[in-house]
């Protein structure tokens, strides 16, 4: 799905924040991306998302070298990658339901064709009673769950989640983890960036550990 070969990244003229990263994210895999704060987890996710270009090395996404993917093909690839942002990025003037349905709406799908799926997913993430609410009145945890639901609704091939359980209590974190596991079972490769050891201990999965810009992999 995603392959990195000797990838390095620096911002401007500063030091390399990521060095010599070589790894791959196989199809239908599940991994945690971890490391201390400031280790470069978010930068690595952005490299996978192709919103950052490495200073050196090669990134391949779905078998294609990222630097050779034509611009017009980007939306198609983007649809195959679900993202959960640390800052949620929900549209504050749309209801929770509309936010979660957005990836399907932009594909031009008829609302009747996805209404059941969206409401069911919202109930699953514990937002059944809040699907009519606007994001400004949601709590941090509720926003996070809405952001996760939006990333999952179109069943992406790859899911990148940046601290997806950062604002929820342990029972909800466990429930969300189950959601990711179920998504993984349906064939999605999941990468969860977290420094929550408790969360990682709940599920036996591959761990990508970033430390001082270098990556160690524990299969």
């Amino acid at each position: 799905m995603i392959q990195f070969e000797n990838v390095g990244l620096r911002y401007g003229l500063g030091p390399e924040v990521l060095s010599d990263l070589s790894f791959d994210v196989p199809a239908n895999s599940f991994q945690f991306l971890t490391g201390p704060s400031g280790a470069g987890k978010t930068s690595l996710l952005r490299l996978m998302l192709m919103s950052l270009k490495p200073t050196r090395g090669v990134v391949r996404v779905f078998g294609k070298e990222a630097s050779r993917i034509p611009r017009d093909a980007m939306p198609d690839i983007r649809r195959k990658v679900g993202v959960v942002f640390q800052d949620f990025r929900l549209l504050s003037h749309l209801t929770t339901y509309e936010n979660v349905a957005l990836p399907l709406k932009v594909l031009g799908k008829d609302e009747a064709s996805y209404r059941t799926d969206v409401t069911e997913l919202l109930k699953w993430v514990g937002l059944g009673e809040r699907m009519h609410a606007l994001p400004p009145v949601l709590s941090g945890g509720e926003k996070q769950r809405a952001a996760i639901a939006r990333a999952l609704i179109d069943q992406p091939k790859v899911l990148l989640a940046d601290e997806p359980t950062g604002n929820v209590d342990p029972p909800m974190a466990r429930r969300l983890l189950r959601l990711f596991i179920e998504l993984h079972r349906s064939g999605t490769s999941v990468i969860i960036a977290t420094h929550d050891m408790g969360l990682m201990d709940q599920y036996q999965a591959r761990r990508l550990v970033l430390n001082e810009g270098r990556l160690q992999i524990y299969d």
Binding site: T95, L102, M131, L177, R178, E182, S186
Partner: protein, 345 residues
């Protein structure tokens, strides 16, 4: 520790698995009728309300008003100048100076008959003594005895404007056949008016171009300013997989609508102003000020072409607003779609 069983137990609580398998895309999703109240906010992806939108609407309305006002003024001046020109070229004047031993009455009759032989001359009217006295009154005072003065006779000749008269030939024939007769075709006045009208219209067009340039720049910058407030929406749409065309269309619709409301408001306000001035000038007709205004600007009627021009300006401003938003969005999304496009953020 969550294991496979843990996941199964959760899934078992649902009537169907939450996610379809990627290898099972062909299977139709089960249809369950879940009664839900209105889930939608009734708002578009790009929200209509917002301070930036209101400010842009106001800017568009003001600039469209000024542009339409200038355009209307150009049409007004052009039409009025054309009116003066038409009025003055509808008639020519023949003057017969008195000569000793020449019968003035006979000269007038000869000149009238001669003039009526030319194709295009509709009517010849002789200015009678009373009218001549009125003309001279400001210079020589009232109670004039015209018989005592060598006053030239004046003939006003009405001309059919659809026909081209050879004024040089008429003047030559008149001077040859009627002693003391000369023709004044008002050519020098018409030329002066032409020059003045052309200069005024040219000045108006230059002012209009300047106002339109200011409108274009103001609308472009105001639209881009309003767009900056919606950058987050563009980013989110991009990350959920919307392509450039979809995002641009959403914004274009919103800004085109905003532009239409603003520019039509400005245009309609300009039309109302002209109408109000027209009504005012007609109600003040008897006063010297109104007569002066009427002589300069006519009845403040901008005519069909003026209205059409105002409508075009309004639509043009609206299209410009929509187009600016489209170009701004396309540029931003193109940057996002470029590999490493967010490098600078």
């Amino acid at each position: 520790m969550i294991d496979d069983d843990g996941g199964q137990a959760d899934a078992a609580r649902h009537e169907k698995p939450l996610f379809k398998s990627h290898s099972d895309d062909a299977q139709p999703a089960s249809k369950r009728n879940i009664r839900t109240p209105s889930l939608t906010s009734g708002r578009n992806i790009v929200p209509r309300e917002g301070v930036a939108g209101q400010a842009l609407l106001t800017v568009i309305a003001i600039m469209a008003f000024l542009a339409c006002l200038t355009l209307g003024a150009v049409f007004l001046v052009r039409d009025t100048a054309q009116g003066w020109q038409t009025d003055i070229s509808r008639e020519v004047t023949v003057q017969i100076r008195p000569y000793e031993n020449v019968d003035m009455e006979q000269s007038i009759r000869a000149a009238s008959s001669l003039l009526l032989t030319f194709d295009g001359v509709e009517k010849v009217t002789v200015l009678d003594d009373e009218a001549s006295a009125r003309l001279l009154e400001p210079f020589l005072g009232s109670g004039l005895q015209l018989d005592e003065l060598p006053i030239p006779a004046l003939l006003t000749v009405s001309v059919d404007q659809s026909k081209t008269l050879d004024y040089a030939a008429i003047a030559k024939t008149l001077s040859e056949e009627v002693p003391g007769a000369s023709l004044d075709d008002h050519r020098s006045w018409v030329d002066r008016l032409n020059t003045m009208a052309r200069t005024t219209v040219l000045g108006g067009v230059i002012v209009f171009i300047l106002v339109m340039t200011a409108t274009v720049l103001t609308v472009v910058f105001a639209t881009r300013g309003a767009m900056a407030g919606n950058k987050d929406i563009v980013d989110v749409l991009h990350f959920v997989g919307a392509d450039r065309v979809f995002i641009a269309r959403e914004f274009e619709h919103h800004f085109l609508r905003l532009g239409l409301i603003g520019s039509l408001s400005g245009g309609i306000a300009a039309i109302f102003l002209f109408l109000a001035l027209g009504v005012w000038s007609s109600t003040m007709k008897a006063t010297p000020q109104a007569d002066q205004m009427n002589a300069l600007f006519g009845s403040f009627s901008i005519g069909g072409w003026g209205l059409f021009g105002i409508f075009l300006v309004a639509v043009g401003v609206a299209v410009l607003t929509g187009l600016t938003s489209r170009i701004t969005v396309m540029r931003h999304v193109s940057q996002l779609e470029t590999y490493g496009g967010r490098q600078k953020n």
